[in-house]
Structures are given as structure tokens and as C-alpha cells.
């Protein structure tokens, strides 16, 4: 039996054990982001279209991205630094790559779950983007973003042993995703010097793509593929780092 299968079984068993709290979290997170972030900002930001419709993309990205990041990072930190389960896993005939694949998949599964729940909740506000084509493109772009956050979480979880440092990094990431990339505040409000920096980051274009689909705007495939390439690069770095940290002592 491929050793990845029992690792996935283990993830399923954990999900079953905590299913109620996870689903409750999936439901509450987009509602809280919408209520505490999007609604207050809708009173301040003026746009050609209804702000709350436009900010639905920000709700999906923040909720699903952060869930993917936190699930993959906390699991990696738990097995490596907190419970030392890493020893029990690494002594089995599994490779570092197997372990990383399962951890990234965990982030993707939780992130996609969060995205699906978030899209159902935000659909109650806006049905305009719900053509089949749009939904497919949004899902495709969201999948790559969730993958990106999951890989990033795996790498961060592998490197940061200190709990406070991890909380700080997660908080900075949350602030960056919500406030720094135009997910809730349109990019036109940012200074040009800042825009020239963030426009070089592929994820900015990927975020823009999701918002653009809602508005029936153009989809930037270059941004999509660049995000994917960036994700693969972080994945390779994660694998290299794993060889340094997993079996060091």
C-alpha cells in the first residue's frame, strides 16, 4: 500500500473527529469577515459597482487562503515541534516528499472546503457572477491561490518553532491579505510607489483575477501561471528545507 493513503486516512479521521467545529468555523469565518470588514468599509469606499458585491472576492481569498495557510502550518508545527510525531512518521517507510504532499493536500482540502462554504454564503448577496463559466474560472484561480497559501504554510510551519513568532507571522499575513493587496480596499487608493512594488508579486494579479471575474472583466492568464510557478518554486524550497530540518537530529 502506498504510504500516502494511510496518511490521508489519518487526515480523514481527524476531520471526522472535529467535523462540527471545522464546519462551524467555515460558516462563521466569511460571515465575520463580511460583517466586521466589508460592511464598515462599504460605508467609506465609493465605487461604480456595489462594494459588497465586489468585496465577495476578498472574503473568499481571505477566508480560504488563511484557512489553507493555518491548517498546513499548524499541522506541520504540531508534528515537528509540539508533539514530536515527526519521529513516528519519519521512521516509517515514507519520504519527506510524501509527508509534504499530504500536508499541502490538507491545506488544500480545508481551504477548498472554506472556499465552497464562503461562496455559498456570499452568493446570498450577489448572484451576478454565478454563470457556470465564471464559477469554473473563479474556482480554478482560487485553487491555485489556496495551493499557494498551503505550500507557504507548510514552509513556515517547518521553519518557525516559536509559537509567538508564528502568531506574529500569521497576523502579518492576515493584514497583508486583507489590507495590502486590494482585496478590501481598491488598489487605486494606494500610493503609486507601493503599487509599483506589489504589482511585481504574481499573487496580486491572481487576487485581481478573482475580482475581475465578478465584474466580467478580463482574466490575466500570465498572473495565473506566474502564481502557479511561484507556488512550485516555494514547494521545491520546502522540499530542500525538509531535508535540512527533518532528519537533523
Amino acid at each position: 500500500m502506498n504510504p500516502i493513503i494511510p496518511l490521508f486516512k489519518r487526515e480523514l479521521l481527524e476531520f471526522k473527529k472535529h467535523a462540527f467545529s471545522i464546519i462551524l468555523f467555515w460558516v462563521l469565518t466569511p460571515i465575520i469577515i463580511h460583517t466586521l470588514l466589508a460592511i464598515p468599509l462599504s460605508r467609506l469606499i465609493t465605487m461604480d459597482i456595489r462594494y459588497l458585491n465586489w468585496s465577495a472576492a476578498g472574503v473568499w481569498i481571505t477566508a480560504a487562503g488563511m484557512v489553507a495557510f493555518l491548517q498546513s502550518a499548524t499541522r506541520m508545527r504540531k508534528i515537528q515541534f509540539e508533539s514530536q510525531q515527526i519521529d513516528a512518521l519519519l521512521k516509517s517507510p515514507i519520504s519527506n516528499l510524501d509527508l509534504i504532499i499530504v500536508n499541502i493536500s490538507r491545506g488544500i482540502m480545508y481551504g477548498m472546503g472554506q472556499f465552497l462554504v464562503a461562496i455559498v454564503i456570499t452568493s446570498t448577496l450577489n448572484h451576478e457572477y454565478q454563470s457556470l463559466g465564471n464559477m469554473l474560472i473563479i474556482t480554478l484561480q482560487m485553487f491555485t491561490l489556496i495551493l499557494y497559501f498551503s505550500v507557504l504554510g507548510t514552509l513556515i510551519g517547518m521553519l518557525i518553532s516559536n509559537h509567538i513568532s508564528f502568531v506574529n507571522v500569521s497576523f502579518i499575513l492576515f493584514l497583508g491579505v486583507t489590507m495590502g493587496f486590494g482585496n478590501f480596499i481598491p488598489l487605486k487608493y494606494y500610493p503609486n510607489s507601493y503599487l509599483s512594488v506589489i504589482n511585481t508579486i504574481p499573487t496580486t494579479i491572481a487576487f485581481e483575477n478573482v475580482r475581475s471575474v465578478i465584474l466580467y472583466g478580463p482574466f490575466n492568464w500570465a498572473g495565473f501561471f506566474l502564481t502557479l510557478i511561484g507556488t512550485i518554486l516555494i514547494c521545491i524550497i520546502t522540499l530542500i528545507v525538509s531535508h535540512k530540518v527533518f532528519r537533523k537530529i
Partner: protein, 308 residues
């Protein structure tokens, strides 16, 4: 006999600390090999190295003829490992902890279930199988780790202080199981327990600062003391300082040590003992005990700079 495990000139350092220094030894198939050492001597490092949790800096290690660096997946599947620390998955039940581990080693779900139930039954924790492994008694967690090491029926068993924290009944159950298993499995266990080492080992290695100081059967190790005897004298009142000064003048009284009301020393000659006894009778001697040197004495001697 065929070699099951071979270590050749293995070295491992972390920063400036040497964990293993040019370590070489072999373990035969179907034998029980005990690594005896104090805390930090490198016992756990050897076991972790064999299961691929630590990578060596130098040397080579073979398990059943396969190089662990080149064929890590294969050699790891041959080994069952029980660590010293508790590293159970707190999100899973005790049953799943053991069963998933078996499946990671290639068992089917049905085989893993069967083996989990078998070991849980033998170790007496069937009633806890559906409970979470979190917050269980330490002794039970150790038994779960033991069952987890055995669930895939490994050919090589690596046990790091296996009975630590277990009650006497559980300890005896574990040793009975190992007694039955040792005919067809290679067992290496690290311990600080001399009685268990003397009772169960086919061969014993005394490890000190990452190096094997002595290695052989118990009889062979005891032989190296050449009839050295351990003497213990008990007093009703602590003897005066001049008593110890006088004692140090006896040339063949080795390592005299006064701990409270008890004096311990080693000697090969009965006459030396009689001389000490004569002196002790003048200082409230209450009891005496003599025994030929055992593993404990040898270990203390080797790790504290020699008995002589």
C-alpha cells in the same frame, strides 16, 4: 551467525558536541543486544540513527545487508521502533494510532486491525482502544508505543528504555513478550536498568560519551573484572575521618566510598577485606554484605574512570 545490523566507524557531531565517535559493532540475527549507558551517552542516538531519524556524518550502517543511507525506505520497513518520549497522535484514538502506523508499514486495513487487536489484547489495553491517546496514564502510553512498534511484525526491534514508567505487572508482560519474540527477531534495547540488561541480553555494550567502552556477553564482561568483589559495610554511627585516611593506606582496597552510614569498596583479596573489617569493628560496624562484581559495578567502573 549472520549479521543483522552492522555499524562501521560511525560518527555524529552536532555543533561542537560529539554524539557518536567512530562507533563500530555488529548485532547477530535473532539475538538481543543491550546498549547500556548513562544519560546523554548516545544510546538513543544509535537507535534513532538506525531508523533514519538522524543522519550520520561518517561511517556506514547496514541492516540485513542493506545500507541505510542508500536503501532507507527498505531498512525502515524492517524496523519497529519504540522511542523514549511519548509521540502519539493526540487527534486519533489508541486503535487508530496503532492501526495507521501498521498501514504506513504496508499492512492492509484488515491486517492492521487484526494485529492491533492482538497486541492490545496481549498487553491488556483492549478496553481503552476507542479512547483518545491524549491524557492517558504514562504507563499505558508506553504500552501503546510498544504495540505500535510491533504492529507490522518487524524483523528488527529497536526499543529505547522500553519499560520506563510501566508498573511491575506491565513490565513483566513486556519482557515475556520479548522473551518469546527474541528467537526470530533481532532486538536492540537501550536501558539504564542493570537487572533487565543482565536478565535479557545475549550481548551487552557499555556506551560512554558516544563510544563503546566494552562489549560482550554478560559472562565475558564479568570475567574482565578478574574476580573483583564488591564489599559494603554499614555502621550505626558515621565513622570518623581518620577511618577513611587509614583505609586509603590499604594498597589493594579499590574505590573506597563512604555514603552516609555505608562504606563501599572493591578488592580481589580476602585478606584486604579482613583488614578493613578489623578496622571497621572499632567504629560501630552494624552489618556487612559482599558480592562478586556485577554489571552495575563494571558500568560504574568504566564510566567513572575504572575500578582500579
Amino acid at each position: 551467525m549472520e549479521a543483522s545490523i552492522t555499524l562501521k566507524a560511525v560518527g555524529k557531531t552536532i555543533g561542537k558536541k560529539t554524539l557518536l565517535a567512530d562507533l563500530s559493532f555488529g548485532v547477530e540475527k535473532g539475538s538481543t543486544f543491550v546498549i547500556l549507558g548513562e544519560n546523554g551517552s548516545g544510546k538513543s542516538v544509535i537507535l534513532k540513527l538506525l531508523v533514519g531519524l538522524i543522519e550520520k556524518d561518517t561511517g556506514s550502517v547496514y541492516i540485513h545487508g542493506q545500507d541505510i543511507s542508500a536503501r532507507g525506505l527498505e531498512t525502515r520497513s524492517l524496523c519497529g521502533y519504540m522511542p523514549q518520549n511519548i509521540n502519539l497522535d493526540e487527534d486519533l484514538t489508541i486503535f487508530d494510532n496503532i492501526s495507521i502506523h501498521g498501514q504506513l508499514h504496508g499492512l492492509t486495513s484488515a491486517e492492521a486491525k487484526k494485529n492491533t487487536l492482538h497486541w492490545a489484547n496481549l498487553l491488556g489495553f483492549t478496553q481503552f482502544l476507542k479512547q483518545s491517546s491524549y491524557n492517558q496514564a504514562f504507563g499505558l502510553q508506553r504500552k501503546i508505543l510498544f504495540a505500535r512498534a510491533l504492529v507490522h511484525d518487524p524483523e528488527v526491534l529497536l526499543l529505547d528504555e522500553p519499560t520506563t514508567g510501566m508498573d511491575p505487572h506491565s513490565r513483566s508482560t513486556v519482557w515475556n513478550i520479548l522473551d518469546k519474540l527474541h528467537y526470530d527477531k533481532t532486538i536492540i534495547f537501550a536501558t539504564q536498568n542493570f537487572t533487565e540488561a543482565e536478565r535479557y541480553a545475549d550481548r551487552i555494550a557499555i556506551l560512554h560519551e558516544g563510544n563503546i567502552k566494552m562489549d560482550g556477553t554478560l559472562e565475558r564482561l564479568i570475567e574482565t573484572t578478574h574476580g573483583l568483589t564488591n564489599y559494603r559495610l554499614a555502621f550505626t554511627k558515621e565513622p570518623p575521618k581518620e577511618f577513611m585516611v587509614q583505609l586509603e593506606q590499604f594498597p589493594r582496597v579499590l574505590r573506597p566510598k563512604l555514603k552516609g552510614l555505608e562504606l563501599e569498596f572493591y578488592s580481589r583479596e580476602r585478606q584486604q577485606f579482613f583488614n578493613v573489617l578489623r578496622l571497621a569493628l572499632e567504629h560501630n560496624l552494624s552489618d556487612l554484605d559482599t558480592s562478586i562484581c556485577r554489571l552495575r559495578d563494571l558500568f560504574i567502573g568504566l564510566t567513572e574512570g575504572g575500578l582500579e
